[in-house]
Amino acid sequence: MKKNIDKTRRSFIKVSAAAGGGLLMGFNFMSCEAEPKYLEYAAPDFAMPEKWNTLNGFLKIGENGVVTIMSPNPEIGQNVKTSMPMIVAEELDADWDRVIVEQAPLDTKLYKRQIAGGSQSIRLGWKDLRETGARARQMLLKAASERLEVPMEELSTSKGKIYHKKTDKVLDYGEVASAASSVEVPEEVTLKDPKDFTLIGTSVRNVDGFNIVQGKPLFGLDTMEEGMKIAMIEHPPAFGMKIKSLDDSAARAMSGIIDVFRINVEPEGWNPQWSDVNAYPELVAIVGESTWQVMKAKKALKIEWEQESKLESSKDHVATMENALASKKGDEARKDGDPNSAFEKAAKIIEKTYTAPFLAHNTMEPMNFYANVTADKAELIGPVQTAQFLEGTLEGVLGIPKENISIMMTRMGGGFGRRLYGHFGTEAALISQKVKAPVKLVYTREDDMTQGTYRPAYMVTYKAGLDEDGNLMAFQIRGAGIPRSPIFANRYPAGTVDNYRVENHDLETNISTGAWRAPRSNFIATAEQSFLDEVAEAAGKDPIDFRLSLFERAISNPVGEENDYDAERYAGVLKVVKEKSGWGKETAGIHRGVSAYYCHNTYVAQVLDVAMEDGLPKVKKVCCVVDCGIVVNREGAINQIEGGIVDGIGHALYSAINFVDGAPQQSNFNKYRLIRQSEAPESIEVHFVDNGIDPTGLGEPSLPPIGAALANALYKATGTRLYSQPFVDQVELLG
């Protein structure tokens, strides 16, 4: 069943666990109890319809009123499989207790943008999803008005039923669904006033939640198809290296091994798309009967590697960025006023440099894909954030026309940007084509971590000039990134200061990089908001009041015309967090830091409370205020915000990928430190600004600012400012 377990179901579904067939396990601690326990949440109990009536590509309604809504975009944990269908259901006035959600097939003509990326699924899907639901409702009303022989205007709908108040007649959607399916699709529809929403803004449980907790096969790696073989790849040990020769004799002789060969995902003369970022185009593929057999054979391969370009090291990356910022002139991205003269006149100058290393995505489900490629057809199943682009790549690489390629999108064990780059799908397809059999390509964790599309390494130098009264006169940001500078030139504090300048240094690398949850923002927010904290202190001002004074300038008399934010909404979240966190109140042993940031069209402000316990930082509480416009699924939204906060704290504190001679030094979780249960905040409190504006991004915006809230709190706790991520490397933190 693919129905979420709704809380309204709780009161009447009470199934004795013992009566339901008994518990299997003797040690199950429930069975130790004398009294039988009752289920609060169970699989939905409605019957499947005998006939589905398709109203449009997004939904079909059974004769018994059960509604299936297609979720157009891939699910990576951002919960769009619940929230996108909610939007359709709202305008349809469906009964959510009788809704089934299915993952839509790849069909961009019908579903348009089927991408998980940029926190844009809800924002860009909002209008179409609403209209889709509203059109179907209109068709049901038309069919009902003909059936009841009453004017459509006299009909109303609620929870899957159509009411004619004058005659007290009620029709279930199921009763008119068949007739409605042949009604002409209306061109124009009236959408609800958001004030009348009954589903949007409530909390609906994850539609896959009940399947997840039972371990049902939902993920790409769970794919099991008839005749399927297992494939793995071996890639060069370092960026800058390639295969010289392959001796596969030992591997081929091992049990269960079918074939070993070289593949190249970038054939000559082929034009890559943006999504074709790939560490190593040429790989060794091993195909066999079972995962373990192939894993063992992979270790038995004897491959000679040869250098083809520079072998880069992290210490050189740091030096390269330092040199760029020290000596070379970068690209000026924005200049307001005359920063140089303003700095000369300033009473006080603060200048600080911030750095962060490469990061791996480390989705818990490693890269994998199923492919069955025959002479003229390719069928793929797997976890990819950009199936529509993978389709185009496959057409070019396989030489099979798009219409003969199908890609089924599975639920993904995390994305964070890694699965925007679907080379593993292409690799699976090439391997299947070569062995003429269906294969599932599986990356080991080591393959996954050492063949990344990493978050770039960054360095940025901030410089602020204050006058004698502590007012900000001049501001300069000079950024370097391998390969791209992280600065958004037109974002805050652009627009708040007369003399302002941004300079970028983009530095070459042969290490593959890509989008990592909240690209660029995931670093620059921490740097910017840490720096503003230090500037506020130098100005002798409260850090929230200092930021608010800058917004006042941006509201009343903004500098420049291309400021990429709404200063009132930005200031708004800071004002609310000031109030909700009880800012200014001192508690013994608790040290507080504040941060605010805008990205993915959403405004976030956070106050973080830290205590030092046995010389180690313990985050006691995070108070987070979010302005993302209308909140579609409240509990799901809170979960996203909590996750971004934990993710941001973890990576700022602990995580790094370092390179020595082109080789990543971390290849598994024993060396790459991810945040764990005991290191997460004790509590996270989330508040939304209720302004009725169309919804904006949620999967990413809570992550970028939290690193600075943490750094600013840790400064209060330790007296040390943190400039270099991961913070844990700074020994003074460890007491």
Partner: protein
């Protein structure tokens, strides 16, 4: 290759695999019990957690030889219908985001609660230290374990 008899989720199974095969891959490839997840292969992430005679174990690092005399329970066998108090608490708190690590989290939590029915917060944190959630659902996991302890 060698033949092994295994007791998985209360039923006897016979498999024919290489003798060094980790239990994880026996469960996933041979028995098609894919609820137990592969995350790291070196017992660092907890995604592959199962119960061996009721105790939590990382199946990626248990060779089949070490499991043949034991009662093996996977997420599929924790309950028949999702009724285990830990599974119910996970729904109550709407814990999962991507969901990939959650079977392992639930297996760790259920083994822990079977031995400690009234845990302190610190005991929960310590017991769950070996299970990584990349989405960061830790606060919900902690809350769900407290609810499960209450409802068990």
């Amino acid at each position: 290759m060698a033949k092994y008899k295994l007791n998985v989720n209360g039923a006897e199974h016979q498999v024919d695999v290489d003798s060094d095969t980790p239990l994880l891959w026996v469960l996933r490839d041979s028995l098609k019990l894919v609820g137990t997840k592969y995350g790291c292969g070196i017992a660092q992430c907890g995604a592959c957690t199962i119960h061996l005679d009721g105790k939590a174990a990382r199946s990626c690092s248990v060779p089949i030889d070490a499991a043949k005399e034991k009662k093996i329970t996977t997420i599929e066998g924790l309950s028949e219908d999702g009724s285990h108090p830990v599974q119910q608490a996970w729904i109550e708190h709407d814990v999962p985001q991507c969901g990939y690590c959650q079977a392992g989290q639930i297996m760790s939590a259920s083994a822990f609660l079977s031995e400690n029915k009234n845990p302190t917060d610190q005991q929960i944190l310590d017991a769950m230290h070996g299970n990584i959630c990349r989405c960061g659902t830790y606060t919900r996991i902690k809350a769900a374990i407290k609810t499960a302890a209450k409802n068990a």
